[in-house]
C-alpha cells in the first residue's frame, strides 16, 4: 500500500473494496449512545419491580381474581355493559351526524338549535343527565306527540316506557351525540371544497353526494376521533350503576359489598375486562382506518403481521451484513 500522508488527491479514485483493503477498514461505526442504554436499563428494572409487586403482593389476591373473572354474574354485568355501549355508540353517532348536518345547514334556526344542544349536553355532567332521566317519570308522567299547547295525538305512559336500560341508553346517547356532532362536523369540514364542487358539477343527487362522496372521505378523520369517544363511552357506561342498572362495574360493586374481602380482586377483574374491551376496539379501529385510507395514501399502512415479517427480514439482513463484514 502506497499511502502518503499528503493532501487528498482529486485525481486518484477514492479507495474501494479491493482485496488489499478489507471492507472493515471503511466500516462506519454507529454513534455510541450510553445514555440510551442507561435509561433503558433503569426503565426495565422499574418495570420488573412493578410486575414483581403485581404478582407477589398478597394484597391483589390473584386466586380470588381467578375465582371471579368468569363468574356468570360478572359476565352478565359485562353483557349489560356491552349492550348499553353498543346502543349508545350507534344512536350517539346517528344523532351526531344529524346535529352536525344541522350545524352545517343553511338554516340559522337549525344551526342555533344544534349549537345550543351541543353546548348544553357538553356542559352537564353525564351523571346529572342520567339522574335527571331517572327522575323524569316523576316530572312528566306521560309523554305525548301533538301540537305544543294544542291537542295531543299519541300518549305514552312514561313509567312503562322508561326501563332502566332505556334510561341508560337514552342518557348515554344524548351525551355521546353532543360530542359525536363535533367529531362528525370536524370530519366533514376536513373534506376539500373541490370535492363538493365536483360532486355538484356532476349533478349527483344531494343524498348521494353526502353518502358516497363527502362522508366516506370524512370518515378518515372521524374514525380516530370517534373511537376516542367510544373508549370514553365504554368507561362512562359504568355510571349506569347509579340508575340501578347492574353493568360490569355495578356487579363488581355490589359483589364487593357482599364480599368485602374481595373488593381489590373484583376491581382487578373489572380493570382487566375494560382493558380487553378497549384492546378489541383498538384492533377494529386499525382495520377500519386502513379501509378508509384507500386512495388517500398511495400504499396502505402495513398490518401488524406484515410489520412483524418486515421487522424479521430486517433483522436477518442486518445479521447477514454483520457476517459479511
Amino acid at each position: 500500500m502506497s499511502e502518503s500522508p499528503a493532501a487528498v488527491s482529486l485525481v486518484t479514485a477514492p479507495p474501494t473494496d479491493t482485496p488489499s483493503r478489507p471492507v472493515s477498514a471503511q466500516r462506519v461505526q454507529p454513534l455510541r449512545r450510553p445514555g440510551r442504554w442507561i435509561a433503558t436499563a433503569v426503565v426495565l428494572v422499574l418495570a420488573a419491580q412493578f410486575v414483581h409487586g403485581l404478582v407477589t403482593n398478597p394484597f391483589y389476591q390473584w386466586d380470588r381474581f381467578g375465582y371471579w373473572f368468569l363468574r356468570p354474574t360478572i359476565l352478565d354485568g359485562l353483557l349489560i355493559t356491552l349492550e348499553v355501549t353498543a346502543w349508545s355508540a350507534v344512536l350517539g353517532l346517528l344523532g351526531g351526524i344529524v346535529f352536525a348536518l344541522a350545524r352545517l345547514s343553511g338554516s340559522p334556526v337549525l344551526r342555533a338549535v344544534s349549537w345550543t344542544y351541543v353546548w348544553a349536553l357538553r356542559s352537564v355532567p353525564l351523571i346529572v343527565v342520567l339522574l335527571f332521566l331517572y327522575n323524569f317519570s316523576a316530572l312528566y308522567q306521560t309523554l305525548s306527540i301533538g301540537v305544543p299547547f294544542g291537542p295531543a295525538f299519541v300518549r305514552f305512559d312514561e313509567s312503562r316506557l322508561a326501563t332502566d336500560m332505556a334510561i341508560a341508553v337514552v342518557g348515554l346517547s344524548l351525551h355521546e351525540s353532543a360530542y359525536a356532532a363535533e367529531v362528525v362536523r370536524g370530519g366533514i369540514l376536513s373534506v376539500d371544497q373541490g370535492q363538493h364542487e365536483a360532486a355538484a358539477a356532476l349533478g349527483l343527487p344531494k343524498g348521494y353526494q353526502f353518502r358516497r362522496i363527502v362522508f366516506p372521505q370524512a370518515l378518515r378523520s372521524i374514525t380516530p376521533n370517534y373511537v376516542n369517544q367510544l373508549i370514553n363511552l365504554i368507561k362512562s357506561s359504568s355510571l349506569v350503576f347509579y340508575v340501578s342498572l347492574l353493568d360490569l362495574f355495578g356487579t363488581a360493586q355490589s359483589m364487593g359489598s357482599t364480599y368485602p374481602g374481595d373488593i381489590v380482586p373484583l376491581l382487578l377483574v373489572v380493570t382487566v375486562w375494560y382493558l380487553i374491551l378497549t384492546s378489541v376496539v383498538s384492533v377494529i379501529q386499525f382495520y377500519v382506518e386502513r379501509y378508509y385510507a384507500r386512495g388517500a395514501t398511495r400504499t396502505l399502512p402495513p398490518t401488524p403481521l406484515q410489520r412483524l415479517r418486515a421487522g424479521l427480514t430486517d433483522v436477518r439482513d442486518r445479521i447477514r451484513r454483520e457476517a459479511a463484514v
Binding site: 370535492q195 364542487e197 360532486a199 355538484a200 356532476l202 349533478g203 349527483l204 344531494k206 372521505q217 386512495g295
Partner: protein, 261 residues
Amino acid sequence: MTTGTLDRTAAAVEVHDVHKWYGAHRVLNGIDLTVRPGEVTVILGPSGSGKSTLLRVVNHLEKPEVGYVSLDGEPIGVRRNGDRLKELSERAILAQRSRIGFVFQNFNLFPHLTVLDNVAAAPVATGRLSRPEADALARDLLARVGLADKAAAYPRQLSGGQQQRVAIARALALRPGVILFDEPTSALDPELVGEVLAVIKDLATSGTTLLIVTHEIGFAREVADRVVFMDGGRIVEQGPPSEVLDHPRHERTRDFLSKVL
C-alpha cells in the same frame, strides 16, 4: 369512436347580460355571449378578469345576481316567471348540471374511488345507466383518453396529466351537450400538458361544444373557432383566433398578448 353510447348532441350556450358580485366587488359586468352548437370557444384574459367565474356561472356553480345562461334555449338554474327570473330547486339545478361537463384546474377526482368508479359513478347515481352499462361506458371512455389499463387504480396513484384525463372521461360519462374547461393544464408539470391538450383537441374535432379557459395561446390558435378576451368582468373583444390573436383591435388585448406570447 365506434361505440354508439358515446354519441351526444352538441348544445348551444347563450349568456344573457350576466352580472355577478362578490360582496361589493363586481366580477362580471354585463356579459353577453353566444356559442353555437359544436363551436370551440377559448376564453383568455388576465387573472381576476372574471373568466373562471363566467365558466362557473354557466353550470350554476356560481349564481349570477342579474342575467342568466341558457342551454339550447333553456335557462340554467332559473325559470322565467312573466318578466322575472325565479331560482329553481336544488334538485332541478342538479339535473341540469348533469348535461354540462366541467373539468377543474385541480382535477377534483374522488380520491376514495377507483378510476373506473370515478367515471361510472355519475351515470349510475343520476339513474341514466345500470351499473354494468356504466362500467362498460367508463371502460370505453378510459380507452379513449388512453388510460384503459388504469381502471383499477386510485387517482393519487396517477400523474397529474393522467388524473386530468380521467377527469375529462368523468365529464364525458354524462354525455354532456357542452364541456367547460377551467384552466385544465395550469396545475400540470410542463411535460404533462401535451397529453391533456391532445385529448381536448380530439374532443374539439369531434364536434362537441367546448368552452375553455386557458393560458395556452398556441393551443387556442390551433383549436379555437372563436377567442374571447375578457378584462375587468367584461368581454373586451371576440372573434376568430386569426383576428383576436394576430390582429387585436383593442389596446388591452395587444398588451395582454404581448406579455403572454
